[in-house]
């Protein structure tokens, strides 16, 4: 209980100070009274008695001060004093404060904004019950595999969803495309997500019975039903099929993508062998049952995979599924964003370090200017420790103010960051500044305050106060390197690292923009068209409909060519089929050859300006029932028939009996992404739309225009409606936009890192400027003597610029060495640029040295204007 009492006394002493003070005075007064009474009782006259009583006690104020000391509140009091003094000092030295605060605010703001991003994307657990029990099951893409696992696993509860699917639904003027997700019936239960209204799917609703039920997202409910509760039970037409609305999810639930408007049960029908065993695209995840370790669940999964391999209606390669395994669901979701996020964190950490170094340097300069004040305090009895504490407190006050400003700045920076980052960055919507982030900002501010306060404080402890009082100007820094010089070199090194990184990313972006996509981008307008189910009941009907639309567009004045294709180039949508290639047989137990698949109308080559290198193009005669034909690209021709003529060779989709004959070779086009399709795709094939291997659900229209595309873009949906009222039209855009979207991720990264590098360069310039100009002030006398002794102005100018160059060069060399070692981390983000790219590794140091010279110009002019006589007199 003693500690409790002590604690309460301490608090009382600290918080109820006036009261405690009054008590102390009363106590001492009582003592004097008693003492005087005692003396008077011995016959001393009252006046003298009082005086003597007072004398026995000694100096009252000293006693009171000592009492305060022993109450343990002295530290508290001093802290308060130091804080007030620090604030006053900040208000007095406006330039210093403004520079230091701005630097701190930028550093802390950037760090906080990026940290909140990292926190939201990488660190924060998924918003589900016990998210650490959720795992992604990799390499299980078929419904049959999932269904078998779900029915048999004893260690985990398996659930699944398909990728985003667009459905046609009634819009205001004409049909619209809305994105929904097909999920297994236990999807919500396994995630542990409860509906806001109504219910989620019941077990079995994904079975062969075809339950037409839909669960809405909050946003979609808000947009389509204005949050009316009676939406439950209503019908929603999706692809002309009525779905009953059975539930609405709460606002935060948008799994697996933010764009999910609703969820419908997927179809798990073992009788539909092609879909059940043949079509992939399933994302499978699992919740471990209570007490089950991930290793156990993974072992069970592997055991099942080898059994399921034999359950396929056709022989599966031995290698199928051997990679299947469990990874944490969150790690799986954000895997793509991890490198970028961590790179950004590293970048802002460097910016923050530069900011800290800068402020430390400012503080050192400031302390030097306060040498006399501090010496005076020391000679009046302040211990070095006391002075160091004062300086440290001032630094923390500065950091706190900077942190406050920085946090405000962070809100703006985060908004900018979210705007700049690609919209498909996982969990981006969840990112926000909350109490934890604010705590982080506070901790970083305090930490930086201690860091940049420690240098001057530590210097203060070592300081010989006497010399400072005498006011002697120290002459030359002949003895080793000064702290500020070392700091500014460090700063230059950090800035070099950032510059190299930014140059690498920008160079890589430039290389991407130089990539020839293989087609003519200019004056092409594209749009996505999806016919209703009725209108696309058969391939023949669909192709006829597309032809009508195409002819309608082609008839529009200014349109030179119009064509249709299933997937646009440079668009991240998978379009792959597995094929057997003549002359290149593979044993049946091995995987067959995955080929990129593009279905096109004959005008496609002209509309996109793709060169035909060999053979013939598709014609109207390549229709259903005619001999199946195909075009391949140059790389594919080279890969399979390097010495032979590919024309006349054949390939066969594994799902078909008929062989396709290759009739022509076209130039390479960048499909899927700027780096082409994923590396496991072993070739690229075009087939006529009329002979499409699978009937396309949606197609992309492409029109090459002779002139202005603006009015055409506006009229396009209307024109389509005139031909096909049930067709939904979306994604009307110029081809340039499609191409730009393909480099969005690297572009945003390059701009972000570039921006931070520029910030770092600016801070480094400010740092160099500060140290060099401080050096000129410090060496005024020395420079004056040199000038008086006949040193040329050029020599003096060189002294100033040389010191600046020295800092920059030492920093740059260190920075380059560090960058060389760090470059492999950024390597995976680079395209067409080696990680030790000579261009980036030379531009960065040149930029830094140039900035260092610029930063020393003003101090140089000041040095040149020194009047020797005056400086000697004043010295």
């Amino acid at each position: 209980m003693r500690w409790l009492r002590i604690l309460s006394l301490r608090f009382r002493a600290a918080l109820r100070r006036p009261h405690v003070e009054r008590e102390m005075e009363a106590e001492l007064a009582e003592h004097l009274e008693c003492e005087a009474e005692e003396l008077m009782a011995r016959g001393v006259p009252p006046a003298e008695a009082r005086q003597r009583a007072r004398a026995t006690l000694g100096r009252m104020d000293a006693i009171q001060e000592e009492c305060r000391d022993s109450r343990g509140t002295a530290g508290w009091e001093q802290l308060k004093q130091d804080v007030f003094f620090g604030v006053r000092l900040l208000l007095k030295n406006r330039t210093f404060s403004a520079m230091a605060l701005a630097t701190m605010a930028l550093g802390i703001g950037s760090t906080t904004a990026v940290f909140s991003l990292i926190d939201g994307v990488l660190i924060r657990p998924l918003p589900f019950t016990s998210p650490d029990r959720l795992f992604h099951a990799g390499d299980i893409e078929m419904r049959g595999v999932f269904d078998t696992l779900r029915a048999n696993s004893r260690s985990a509860d398996y659930a699944a969803h398909l990728g985003v699917r667009a459905f046609n639904t009634a819009g205001r003027d004409w049909p619209e495309r809305v994105k929904g997700i097909e999920v297994s019936a236990n999807f919500f239960r396994v995630l542990g997500a409860r509906p806001l209204l109504g219910r989620t799917f019941a077990e079995g609703e994904d079975g062969p019975g075809k339950s037409r039920v839909v669960v809405l997202s909050y946003a979609f409910w808000l947009q389509r039903f204005a949050v009316r509760r009676d939406a439950i039970g209503k019908q929603l037409a999706l692809d002309e099929t009525a779905y009953e609305i059975i539930g609405v999810m709460p606002p935060g639930f948008t799994y697996p993508v933010a764009a999910a408007n609703f969820w419908v049960p997927m179809q798990l029908d073992p009788r539909d062998i092609g879909e059940y065993w043949g079509s992939g695209g399933l994302s499978v995840f699992a919740r471990l049952r209570d007490g089950v370790q991930p290793e156990t669940a993974q072992a069970e999964l592997r055991a099942w995979i080898s059994q399921i391999r034999r359950m396929f209606p056709w022989p599966m390669p031995d290698a199928w599924g051997v990679e299947a395994g469990l990874t944490g669901l969150r790690d799986h979701l954000v895997a793509g964003a991890k490198v970028r996020s961590l790179l950004l964190l590293g970048v802002v950490a460097l910016v923050l370090l530069i900011a800290i170094v800068n402020v430390a340097n400012l503080m050192i300069g400031q302390t030097a200017a306060r040498q006399r004040e501090l010496a005076l305090r020391a000679s009046l009895g302040a211990t070095p420790g006391r002075l160091a504490r004062q300086l440290l407190t001032e630094a923390v006050v500065l950091a706190a103010a900077g942190g406050l400003l920085g946090t405000l700045l962070a809100f703006g920076q985060l908004a900018l960051l979210k705007h700049l980052l690609p919209a498909d960055t996982p969990r981006l919507a969840e990112v926000a500044i909350d109490a934890r982030i604010l705590l982080f900002a506070a901790a970083v501010s305090l930490g930086s305050g201690l860091l940049f306060g420690l240098w001057p404080a530590w210097k203060m402890r070592a300081q010989r106060t006497l010399t400072a009082l005498e006011g002697s100007h120290s002459t030359l820094g002949g003895r080793g390197l000064r702290t500020d010089a070392v700091l500014v070199m460090t700063e230059a090194a950090f800035a070099t690292i950032l510059l190299v990184g930014a140059c690498l990313l920008l160079h890589s972006l430039w290389a991407m923009l130089q990539v020839d996509p293989g087609f003519r981008v200019e004056s092409v307008v594209t749009a996505e068209l999806s016919p209703s189910r009725a209108a696309s009941a058969s391939l023949e009907k669909t192709v006829a409909l597309f032809e009508q639309v195409r002819v309608k567009l082609a008839a529009h004045p200014g349109v030179m060519n119009a064509a249709a294709m299933n997937v646009l180039p440079l668009t991240p949508e998978m379009s792959v089929f597995t094929a057997a290639i003549e002359d290149h047989p593979r044993p049946p137990q091995e995987p067959q050859i995955p080929l990129w698949y593009t279905a096109v109308t004959p005008e496609h080559l002209d509309a996109l300006g793709i060169h035909l290198l060999q053979g013939r193009r598709f014609t109207e005669a390549d229709r259903q029932g005619a001999q199946p034909v195909a075009l391949i690209d140059r790389a594919t021709a080279h890969r399979y028939w390097p010495e032979e003529n590919p024309i006349g060779k054949r390939l066969r989709p594994v799902s078909n009996k008929e062989w396709l004959t290759i009739v022509g070779v076209v130039d390479d086009v960048k499909n899927y992404s700027i780096t082409g399709p994923p590396s496991w795709v072993e070739g690229e094939v075009y087939v006529p739309m009329a002979q499409a291997i699978a009937p396309p659900q949606a197609i992309s229209l492409i029109a090459r225009l002779g002139g202005d595309s603006g009015s055409f873009q506006k009229r396009l949906p209307k024109m389509v409606q005139e031909v096909c009222a049930s067709c939904a039209v979306g994604k009307v855009a110029r081809m340039e936009t499609v191409v730009a979207a393909a480099v969005e991720a690297p572009r945003s990264m390059a701009w972000l890192v570039g921006g931070f590098a520029l910030l770092a360069l600016g801070l480094a310039a400010a740092g160099i400027y500060g140290v060099v100009s401080h050096g000129v002030v410090r060496r005024t006398r020395e420079l004056g003597v040199r000038l008086a002794l006949g040193a040329s102005r050029g020599r003096v100018a060189w002294l100033v610029i040389g010191s600046s160059l020295g800092y920059a060069l030492v920093g740059t060399v260190a920075g380059l060495a560090a960058s060389w070692a760090l470059a492999r981390w950024i390597g995976t983000l680079l395209y067409g640029v080696p990680e030790h790219d000579p261009v980036s590794f030379s531009i960065a140091p040149v930029a830094l040295v140039a900035v260092a010279i610029l930063a020393s110009l003003v101090p140089m002019c000041r040095a040149l204007s020194i009047d020797p006589a005056k400086s000697l007199r004043e010295g």
Binding site: L9, E27, H31, T56
Partner: protein, 109 residues
């Protein structure tokens, strides 16, 4: 500002605790008792009595309470806490050991 040396301060603490062992007293009463007990030798340390009292109170060894004093005015009475009693035993033992050791040295030289 001359603070009492550690030894002196420690001694003062010990004496205060000893004086309070019998009954609660006001600061003035303690000072009177000190004077009597030490035959006026310790009068010089009056100035450090109150800081010492506050220190002891904050260590939790003594407790201060405002009560009416024999003079009729309210005064702060200090009394020993159980922790203070333990501290007194400890310090008394320490003192005995220390003074014995010092005496031993003085006598042997």
């Amino acid at each position: 500002m001359s603070k009492p040396t550690a030894l002196l301060q420690g001694t003062l603490f010990l004496l205060i605790l000893k004086i309070l062992e019998l009954e609660p007293r006001t600061g003035w009463a303690i000072s009177q008792r000190l004077r009597q007990m030490s035959n006026e030798t310790l009068q010089a340390s009056h100035g450090s009595l109150y800081p010492a009292l506050h220190k002891l109170e904050h260590e939790g060894w003594i407790r201060g309470e405002w009560k009416e004093s024999p003079t009729g005015r309210p005064a702060k009475f200090y009394s020993l806490t159980p922790a203070g009693r333990r501290q007194l035993r400890l310090e008394a033992a320490n003192w005995t050991r220390l003074s014995a050791a010092v005496n031993g040295i003085l006598e042997s030289v």
